[in-house]
């Protein structure tokens, strides 16, 4: 199995002793697309000024940061985007830009080429124009995005197409997307997880490519194949379920530092100053999330499909009201992945066994390859964690309330003030 740069960064994040090795900064709280699967709620947080963003870059670099990724909303809507990227690069950081490339004309492409970016990731949902445009809600977006990609790649910038498997991918295949990427001089990343909205809304999940079609689409993509073997071993159970609070650390557009793009718990607001290292080391939430392993995820730790599963704590909270347990979307996808590689995966008809939810795991793989749902055992230790961190359970808090202390920055920046000079 090949190791991706993201996996190397996660390993480094955990063993380097550096508080934050990678930081993801959302610089824009607005977008020029209306993608149906987008997890974000925009226009409520406000945006940091250029000065505030550069101060965060300084603090990130000082404590040993290596990679800064910049996203939005749509980052190219900020007039000072190039200043941000150039500053990060001059500070000795490897930089990644996430964009839909809709606004990348020759002038912006020239400016971005001068920023010595490590990579630009561009969302492209299909090789079929109309399918892409339908998902983005913007007529002509496919053409402009592809034109933007050509401008970037033509200037020697490394571009990666990012294709989440949404309804826009119905009727296309991995091979076709790979051929398109290759013709544009790009690499391709396809992923099959769509997350719930950051407000806990489940509408984005409705845009997900149905599991049976995901398996068909992914037939040619080794990165999406589940491991052929199933079952549990202690090495897997001792691993972290995801990159939360380590290489996924995120600064939202208003300066709120959160464990990742999706988990709405504010660690601190970085516009308030303070060294990043001190903030992270003092945070009980960060310590807890970094120490999480599969052993903390009830149900999943007993599930034979664990190695085929791509569950996300944030979507678990939104869909099942429990951040550290199974949820239907993930179970359905894991069963589909398992079925596509083994031909098995049928879940037998309900039996008399109590305490079993047939819509979701954990599952046991029987000797004939069939799957049997088994009880989801919740222990006293699991409940003790919930008492310590009540936000692990319950209704997803609405933005601006409860656990989610997201707010506008001190200056109450409107969208336009982010364009002012420092």
């Amino acid at each position: 199995m090949t190791t991706t740069p993201a996996q190397v960064l996660e390993v480094l994040a955990r063993r380097s002793g550096v508080a934050a090795i990678r930081l993801h900064v959302l610089v824009a709280d607005r977008c020029n697309h209306r993608c149906g699967h987008c997890y974000q709620v925009q226009g409520e947080d406000g945006e940091m000024s250029l000065r505030e963003i550069l101060a965060i870059i300084d603090r990130f670099r000082r404590q040993g940061g290596l990679v800064l990724s910049v996203s939005g909303g749509e980052a190219t809507l900020r007039a000072d985007l190039v200043d941000i990227l150039r500053y990060a690069r001059d500070a000795g950081l490897a930089t990644i830009l996430y964009t839909n490339a809709y606004l990348v004309d020759d002038s912006l492409a020239d400016s971005l080429a001068s920023c010595d970016l490590w990579r630009v990731d561009v969302s492209l949902y299909s090789d079929v124009e109309t399918a892409h445009d339908q998902l983005t809600g913007i007529s002509g977006s496919w053409r402009r995005t592809v034109a933007g990609i050509r401008r970037l790649a033509g200037r020697g910038i490394r571009v990666q197409l990012k294709t989440p498997l949404t309804t826009a991918a119905v009727g296309t295949t991995f091979e076709r997307m790979a051929a398109l990427a290759s013709s544009l001089g790009c690499t391709l990343q396809v992923f099959d997880q769509i997350s719930a909205g950051e407000d806990g809304g489940l509408a984005p999940l409705e845009q997900k490519l149905p599991p049976a079609e995901v398996a068909a689409f992914a037939g040619g993509d080794p990165a999406l194949d589940c491991e052929a073997e199933t079952g549990l071993d202690s090495a897997l159970l001792d691993r972290a379920p995801c990159t939360i609070a380590s290489s996924a650390l995120t600064v939202r557009s208003n300066g709120a530092l959160t464990p990742c793009t999706h988990v709405p718990v504010e660690i601190a607001n970085l516009t308030d100053g303070g060294e990043l290292e001190g903030v992270l080391r003092a945070s009980e939430v960060v310590g807890f999330l970094r120490a999480l392993t599969w052993r903390n995820v009830h149900g999943c730790r007993d599930c034979d499909l664990l190695s085929a599963c791509g569950r996300c704590h944030a979507t678990a909270l939104a869909q099942a009201g429990d951040m550290l347990g199974p949820y239907p979307e993930a179970c359905e996808l894991a069963v589909a992945r398992y079925s596509s590689t083994t031909g098995g995966g049928r879940v037998p008809a309900p039996g008399p066994q109590s305490g079993v939810n047939r819509a979701r795991g954990p599952f046991r793989v029987e000797s004939d390859g069939a799957l049997t749902p088994i009880p989801d055992v919740v222990t006293a230790e699991d409940l003790a964690l919930v008492s310590r961190f009540p936000w692990l359970r319950g209704r997803w808090p609405a933005k601006g309330s409860g656990v989610v202390h997201l707010r506008r920055n001190k200056d109450g920046n409107s969208l336009d003030t982010a364009r002012r000079a420092p």
């Binding site: 190397v8 480094l12 380097s16 002793g17 550096v18 040993g64 940061g65 290596l66 000795g92 490394r158």
Partner: protein, 97 residues
């Protein structure tokens, strides 16, 4: 291209390579490739020393830090530098600042 290092050859990291030293290792990212490269303890030390000083100066520092003969060290260092050069991580020719 075959690269050779004599005693006076300057050895210089590529100026566009982003890197960070951690406890006992170095991570390197070059904008022109997708990979994150990591070097172990010995490689990390060589990389840190590759600041434009001469091949001989690097050998002299390493001899003081590692229990190894000069001839073995020089051979190992040449092989290591060839690997870095193959990955375009060293400043050669016009890349030299």
């Amino acid at each position: 291209m075959t690269l050779t290092w004599n005693d006076d050859s300057p050895v210089q990291r590529h100026p566009r390579a982003v890197w960070r030293a951690f406890e006992g290792e170095v991570a390197i990212i070059a904008p022109w490739e997708g990979a994150v490269r990591t070097l172990n303890h010995v490689g990390a030390r060589c990389w840190e020393l590759a600041d434009g000083r001469s091949f001989r100066a690097i050998v002299d520092v390493l001899l003081g830090e590692f229990d190894v003969s000069r001839s073995v060290l020089e051979g190992d260092l040449r092989a290591f530098l060839a690997e870095l050069a193959a990955r375009e991580l060293l400043a050669l020719g016009e890349d030299r600042p």
